[in-house]
Every structure is written in C-alpha cells, then in structure tokens.
C-alpha cells in the first residue's frame, strides 16, 4: 500500500522523485520501452575532486545516451542517476547506499580517489552491488563487487620505469603526494628498482602535502640530486591540483626533459589543460590511453564527446576510456546474463572482452582487473601527448604486486570454486575477508 507511506519514507523518496525528474529529461527521447534500468553515477561535482570527476560524470551520461540510441539494454532504456558526494569521503558511502538501496541502481560507475573507493567498499559488499572504478590506483585490492578498469601499478608504473631504464636513467627521484597511492606505488618501484640493481643512494623519495603549491625547494632539490653526473629521472605520483604549480616551477627553474625527464602517472590531457605546455615538451606520462592515439574508434569517441559536451576544445583522457571499457563490458555482461541481477552479472563479467579506444580489445580477468596496453607519451606543446613507446602486447592488471613481500604470495580469482580475492598460495588458504564470501557461496 504505497498510499500509506510514512512521512519518513516520503521525504526520503523525495530525492528519488526529483532525480527521476532530472534524468527523465535526458532519457526523454529514447525509443526503448519498459521500466528503465538505472545506472548510478557517483562522482564528485563539487569540492576539491570536482576538477577531475565532473568530466567522468559527463562521459557516463554520454555513454548511457549512446546506448539508449542503440536501443537500450535488454530492450529497456537506461536511466542515469547522478548524485554529488561533494569530495566528502563519508558522503560517498552515504550516497552509494542511497543509490543502491533507494534508487535500486543496477550498477554504479564512480569514485576517483582511493579513499572514496575504500569508503564505499563496505556498502557495495553489504548490499551486493557492482562498482566500476575507472582510475589508476595502487593495487593491493580485489573485491568481488568491484571491477577495476583503471591501471594497476604493473600497468603503468613499472612499464614507465622500464622505458626510462632503457633510456639510460640511473638515478631516480620518486616524488609524490603523501597518500596511499604514491606511497604504495613508490614502495613497489623502490623494490623493483633495487631488484634491477639500482643502489639505495640513487633513489630519493619525497612527499608533499595535498594541494601543495610552493615547489621551489623540492624542484631545486631535484636539480641538486640530478647533478651527480648520472642520468636522472623523476617519477611523479604528485596528485591533481599540485601538478600545475609543480610543472610551472619545473619550467621556470629550467629543468628540461632532456636533462631530467619527469614521468607522471596522474597527469593526463585534462590536467595539462591548465598549463602552457611549451616549456614542458618532452616530459612523460604513462597511461593506457592518449587522446592523440590515432584509431577509428578513438576518432569516433572524440567526435561524439565534442558533440555531446558542445565544446570541441574539451579533451578526453584515460579514466574516460576506462569508463568506456567498463560500461561496454557491463552492457555485454548484462546481455550475456540476460538480467541486471548483480550476482549473475558479476559472474558473467569475467572473460568479457570489448574493444578499447586504442585499437585492441580489453578483457575482464578473473581478478576483476582488465588487460590493457601501456603507452608512454611525451608532452607536446599543444597539450597532447605523443606516444614514444608502448608495450608489445596487452598487460594484464595485477591486483597483488610481486614486489611487496606481503602481497607476493597472494592471487585473486573470482571464478568458482576459488571465488577469492586474496588467495594465499603460500598457505593455500583464502585469507581474510574472502573467506566469509567463499563459505557463503
């Protein structure tokens, strides 16, 4: 009896109704009939992370729009439900709960920072829903309810270091923002470099706070470190906002890519849009996608994006491609399972293979990470990247790094009968959280 709703339910549902109204406008011109399938979009539209995440919200709206034009999914229209977690981590959890419990979305595409993902994880596990996480991250995680479409460290950091070693770099500055992604990546890189015979005194690790803007001391320290007569490179895991002042200071202090190249894992087309890149030509970034990559799929994607957003100066970037891959994988898995029921879709996801934008196919692996090519690009003066190197084949994402002692024995396989995100090959047991799930199945 819906007529007898309590005030509480009614007020809580007010949000749904309004969200329905907002998204109804988007879905208005769709042909498919039937009750819409709701897709949650959980990206910050305000606060510090809005700078990166808003684009992803728009990209998702475009993908859903495209899918509806193609006839929707299972003959039903898709309906996006957009919420704003406002760069506030507990709010991410609250909004995730709202999307799943109240809006009954079939899957959620969202999060950017590691902490936002960590914050929503328990919610997705508890309510047994699906999250597609599109950003490169530190690894060391494999959850049944999460699909990681961004790069794991072995799909970004290690190939980048390999490339630089080939270029003759002997001395390394690992410069990062002080949070988990840089910390873990640098731990992995340190172990990797040492395994390749780099001496401890040739590695310098330094961390700065979030949003750091006065880079004079750090850049000058990099210059000093680089003047020891050996070829030096900087591996930057500096986060979002701090990058612009970092690069501006590099340019001003005359650190050129020829002398000390900087390879970044968090700087893409979107971040460079805020900088005059002519002094930065030659600095590097490692990604699984660049806007400049010349393939028909990519051209098509860029054209659609420009049309959708109504501005042909807006760039595309790697996390957008990750959402593109993730969304298409989900669509395919739902079609394969014939339902949006999360449990069935989760099982159907493994092995699904969809074209990526760089001319190949990406496959969802049993550890819920995907296979991707890795590209090293050099910054050009037009704010784009020119690919200077790429991995010969696809690199499968590795949830558990082989270069950290504790995670070395762990593997992840969500197929039955193992169904475990952290199977310990040393003890032969599924450790920790996975145990409960495995027992439940």
């Amino acid at each position: 009896m819906r007529s007898a709703m309590t005030w509480m339910q009614r007020t809580a549902l007010a949000a749904t109704i309004a969200a329905f109204g907002v998204s109804g406008a988007v879905a208005a011109d769709t042909k498919p009939k039937g009750e819409p399938i709701k897709v949650g979009i959980l990206h910050s539209l305000s606060g510090t992370m809005a700078i990166s995440e808003t684009t992803l919200k728009d990209a998702m709206l475009m993908l859903i729009d495209e899918q509806n034009k193609k006839g929707g999914l299972l003959g039903r229209p898709l309906e996006p439900v957009v919420v704003d977690p406002a760069s506030n981590w507990p709010l991410f959890a609250e909004k995730a709960r709202e999307l799943i419990s109240q809006d009954k979305v079939a899957a959620v595409f969202g999060c950017w920072t590691s902490v936002s993902r960590k914050s929503v994880l328990p919610v997705f596990k508890e309510l047994d829903s699906i999250l597609f996480y599109p950003v490169q991250y530190e690894g060391e995680e494999s959850e049944r309810n999460v699909f990681y479409t961004g790069a794991a460290p072995n799909q970004q950091a290690i190939p980048a270091v390999d490339y630089l070693m080939n270029e003759g770099v002997k001395r390394w500055v690992l410069e990062g923002t002080d949070y988990v992604y840089p910390r873990t990546t640098n731990k992995i890189l340190e172990a990797y470099l040492k395994s390749k015979g780099v001496a401890a005194e040739d590695i310098k690790v330094n961390y700065t706070p979030f949003g750091f803007s006065d880079w004079q001391t750090e850049v000058s320290a990099i210059k000093d470190f680089g003047s020891a007569g050996k070829k030096t490179a900087v591996v930057s895991t500096v986060n979002g906002d701090a990058n612009v002042p970092f690069y501006k200071e590099l340019a001003n202090q005359g650190v050129s890519a020829e002398d000390i190249p900087v390879v970044a894992f968090s700087v893409g087309e979107e971040e460079l849009a805020g900088i005059d890149t002519s002094p930065l030509v030659g600095h590097l970034a490692a990604w699984n996608y660049f806007e400049s990559i010349d393939t028909p799929q990519n051209d098509d994607f860029i054209a659609k994006w420009h049309k959708f957003i109504g501005n042909d100066k807006r760039v595309t970037n790697d996390p957008m491609e990750a959402h593109y891959i993730g969304f298409n994988m989900w669509v395919k898995a739902v079609e394969k399972a014939g339902t949006t029921d999360p449990d069935k879709v989760i099982d159907a996801m493994i092995g699904v293979s969809v074209p990526n934008l760089t001319g190949g196919y990406s496959t969802m692996m049993p550890n819920h990470h995907i296979t991707k090519p890795v590209f090293i690009g050099e910054i050009q003066d037009d704010g784009q990247f020119q690919v200077v190197w790429q991995t010969p084949g696809l690199v499968p994402g590795d949830a558990w790094s082989d270069y950290l002692p504790e995670s070395k024995p762990l593997i992840s396989d969500w197929r039955k009968p193992m169904s475990c995100g952290n199977f310990n090959t040393a003890t032969g047991k599924c450790g920790g959280a996975g145990a409960e799930k495995a027992a439940a199945n």
């Binding site: 803007s213 320290a221 003047s227 020891a228 202090q253 849009a273």
Partner: protein, 539 residues
C-alpha cells in the same frame, strides 16, 4: 716539459687526422638531412643526428634546431624534408640554407617525430658544432653543454676554441669544459691537479660530483689531496649559497602569503569582518586574468605580453565590485557580530565557488606566463626565477601603495577614523556607511589583484581560494590584527621559517611545525606580533 711536448705532439697528430677522419666519414649534409624523411623509428632518426654531428658542418645546425623544436617536417607524398612554420597553411624553408621555398597545407606534411634522447643528441651535436658560432650566446650555450658532455677526444676542439675565443666569460667556460675533459682522460696527474684547480672556482654541484669522483678513485696522492681540498671548498660555497637560496625561497613564499593576506588585513584586520569569502575574491582575480588572456588570444594576440597589466585593474574592479555588493547587501547588516559574518561569508564563498564552477567548468584553466615572467637567471649558485622575483616586487609595491593610501589620502584618513571611533567619525560628517563599503571593496579589490599574481604560479580553478584562506588568516593573526606592517613581517617570517624547515622536516612536517609555532606564539602574545597597545584595547 715532457708533458708539454707530448701534448703538443698529440695535438698536432689529431689536428691532422681529425679533418681527414671527418671528411672520410661524411656524406653530403643535404642528403643526410633528407634521410630524416619518411616514416622511421626513433633509432633511425637518432642515427641520422649522430651522422650529422660527425659530419661537423655547422650548416646543419639549422636543421637540427628545427628537428629539436618539432619544426622539421617531410612531405607525405615524396618524403622531402622541410622546415615548416605556422599552422594550417605553413611556410616551407629549405632545411640547409633556410631560404623560403614555398607554402603548402600542413595536412600534406608529417612531423619528423622526436623524443628526449633525440633532443639530447641534437643538443650534444649542436654543442660541438656551434662552438665557433659567431653569436656569443650560442657559443656560451655550447660551452655550457660541453662541460657535462666533454669527452677526452673533445679536448683538441676545445683547445682550438679557447685559443680563438675573445670573450673572457666564454673563455672561462671553455677552460672549465676542458678541465672536465682532462679529468675524464688519462692525462698525467699534474695536468689533472691543474684541472681540479680550474674547476674549484666553478664550485657547483655537478663539479663537486666530478671532483669527488677524482678524490675517491685517484691513486696519486697529490691529486687526491688537491681534489679533496677543492671538494671541501666547493662544499662550503654550496652551503653558503644554500642558506641564501632558502632565504630567497622564504621571501618568495612570504610574498605570496603577503599578497593573499593583504586584502584580508584590510577587511579582517581593519574592519574586523571575518571574510571567509576572501579566498574567492582572489579566485575571481585569477579568473579575470584568464578571461583577459582568452580575449587577447582570440582578438589581439600581440597584446599577450601586457595581458597582466590589463588584467590588474580589471581584477581589482571585478573583485572590488563583488566586495561592494557583498558589503551593501549583507555585511552591513552584520557589523558588530563578527561570528555571524563568518557564517554569512562562508555561505557566499560556497555560492561564488559554485558560480565559477558553473560558468567556467570545474577544471583548471590555462593562464599563460608572459615572457618576462618566464625562466630564471643565476646569481652565483642560486637560481632566481623571474616570476618569483616579479611577485616579490609586486607584493611590495602593493603593500607600499596600500600603506600610502591608508596614510596619505582622504579616504585612508576616513577609514582610520571610522575604524577607531565610528560615532565620532559620523559626528564629524564622515559618511560611515560609504567608508565601510569603500574599505571592504578596497580589501576585496586587492585580493583580486593578488589573484592576478597567483594565477602565474598556481592552478586557476574554483578551489584556488580555499588553498589560501587559512594561511591568510594565520598571517594576519600572527602579524597582529589591524597592523599592515604586522602582516608584512608576519608573511615574510612565516615564509622564511617554512622554507628553512622544509629541507629538514619535509614539506608536510614543516607546515605542521609552523602551525604549532603560531599557536604557541599566540599564547605568548595573544594579540599577535604587532599588537595594538593601550588601555582602550579590551577583549
């Protein structure tokens, strides 16, 4: 004596052989340049560069430069190589002679792709090729490059160049490069001691690494001694310059803090309004700069160099106008209730942020540095970047102008009168509401000006202001509310302390220490560094 003779003989021999060798290897430079054409791997391109360098013809410098800058293109149809400039329709130049050979559509051409290692090869090649260039600056740059790349084989070339060089500064550089080459060679120890002595005068970190290497590996006692002594003296020099460098960085950070805080010193310090939207005033100034540059880019590209000068008054007006509206519509109802002003202005700051996000989008906007704000120059071992220098100068100019405005103009007099005794000022016929509005607009306008400067070193995004608001309050409170000099001294001392802590404690811990110091300092002097004194001051 023997050494000299032997050196001479070797020199003679090489002087004879070198040209022959060079000619023996060389093919026609024009043909070599043409081999850049067509799709080829980076390694192929690099090999061509090496060949061109070996050919030793200074004429190829033009083509190499163009290659490094990405201006070297080849025609897709026949792989012929040109230097191109312009977009859309490009002008084509002969890569060897530089004469214009025609125009064409850019889509018919492909860039010769380069990467860092190729650029480096080009730089190295240009180093030896341009050592005899008629342009002193080019020679200077070449000598600089040779210092780090010089091999023992380059010594002869350097000797020749030294002999021919007339400019003393370049000559010194060349001699240093030669000394570096000597240290790498198997010259006798005595020659190396000389080289170490030459290098001791240069005294930078690169030299230090080189000399330390000699000190560590040399078996000759005398050389070891000389190298050790030189290393110590260089270390001392570096230590002194490091201190100076830190002071400079500190002043530079201080000037940024000063710029961010000085508007607040008016609105908060003089008027007592806790303006949480202050950071957003700074942000508006930065966005004004962006809009100005954007208009200039599309309508009058020639004005780019003066874009900041145009943006300054506009930023002042924009932020000032927003401040005026805020004061008239909001703050004037809240005088005497500072904590409620805090809430209301916090609300305004949210609105302004979201407004900017809605209008300009959430991502960073590009604000370019004009040429005079780009690059750096060296004083001794200290590298001074132009943008930081100009920002320090600018911050001081703003400070002095504001001081003059407060102390020398009628408006300043009225402002001080109103803040000291509102009733009395009103009784004297001063229109206090007008003065309030003007004061607030002034403070906001100055924040806008600060935004123009900060757009040169920081992100231009809706979050720009948030990053500065807390620091600004710290500066004003630390310096002493209501005292501009306090703000100046507060900003500069916080900057310097921060920068001295940073190398030891790291950026994060350094900042924490500074905050704790401020807290402790306020316990000691509850009214800040430059407290207003007198018996009328009461809590």
């Amino acid at each position: 004596m023997m050494r000299l003779v032997r050196q001479f003989l070797v020199f003679l021999l090489i002087a004879l052989i070198l040209p022959i060798g060079a000619y023996a290897q060389s093919s026609d430079p024009a043909a070599l340049i043409q081999s850049f054409g067509g799709k080829q791997s980076f390694d192929d391109t690099e090999a061509v560069v090496k060949k061109l360098a070996a050919a030793g013809d200074p004429q190829v410098a033009r083509a190499l430069n163009a290659l490094s800058k990405g201006d070297l293109v080849y025609r897709k149809s026949d792989n012929q190589v040109f230097i191109a400039s312009g977009r859309g329709t490009v002008d084509l130049f002969d890569p060897l002679t530089g004469t214009k050979v025609g125009e064409a559509a850019s889509r018919d051409f492909s860039k010769v792709r380069v990467k860092n290692s190729i650029r480096r090869a080009v730089t190295d090649a240009l180093g030896s090729l341009t050592l005899r260039s008629p342009d002193p600056n080019t020679r200077m740059a070449a000598a600089g490059t040779l210092f780090s790349t010089a091999t023992p084989e380059a010594m002869k070339t350097l000797d020749a160049a030294i002999a021919a060089e007339t400019v003393p500064a370049i000559k010194t550089k060349l001699e240093e490069a030669r000394a570096a080459a000597v240290l790498k060679s198997d010259e006798p120890a005595a020659a190396k001691v000389e080289a170490v002595k030459t290098l001791a005068g240069k005294g930078d970190r690169e030299t230090l690494a080189m000399i330390r290497g000699v000190a560590a590996t040399s078996k000759d006692a005398q050389l070891k001694q000389a190298a050790t002594t030189a290393a110590v003296s260089i270390e001392n020099t570096i230590a002194t310059w490091t201190i100076l460098q830190n002071v400079w960085y500190g002043l530079s950070l201080g000037s940024v803090l000063l710029l961010a805080a000085i508007g607040l010193a008016i609105t908060f310090g003089v008027m007592g309004v806790i303006n949480m939207a202050h950071g957003e005033m700074v942000m508006l100034g930065a966005y004004t700069t962006f809009v100005v540059q954007e208009l200039i880019r599309t309508h009058a590209p020639g004005l780019f160099e003066v874009s900041l000068a145009i943006a300054l008054p506009l930023a002042f007006l924009v932020s000032g106008a927003v401040g005026l509206v805020m004061e008239r519509c909001l703050i004037r109802f809240l005088y005497g209730r500072p904590l409620e002003t805090l809430l209301a202005t916090f609300g305004v700051s949210l609105i302004l942020q979201q407004a900017v996000r809605t209008i300009f989008g959430p991502s960073n906007r590009e604000v370019g540095n004009p040429d005079f704000m780009s690059g750096a120059f060296d004083i001794g071992l200290m590298s001074v970047t132009w943008n930081r220098l100009w920002i320090i100068v600018f911050a001081l100019v703003v400070f002095v102008a504001l001081l003059a405005l407060l102390n020398k103009t009628a408006l300043g007099l009225q402002m001080r009168a109103v803040t000291q005794n509102r009733k009395m000022a009103a009784a004297m016929g001063i229109r206090t509401p007008w003065v309030d509005a003007m004061t607030f607009a002034l403070g906001s306008g100055i924040a806008g000006i600060a935004g123009v400067a900060l757009s040169q070193i920081d992100n231009v995004s809706p979050n720009l202001g948030q990053g500065y608001i807390i620091d600004s309050f710290m500066v004003v409170v630390f310096g002493g509310v209501g005292n501009l000099w306090g703000t100046l001294v507060g900003a500069m001392s916080l900057g310097v302390v921060n920068k001295f802590l940073e190398p030891y404690a790291g950026a994060v811990l350094g900042k924490i220490v500074v905050l704790v110091l401020i807290i402790l300092f306020i316990q000691k002097r509850p009214r800040g560094l430059f407290a207003q004194k007198g018996r009328f001051v009461d809590a």
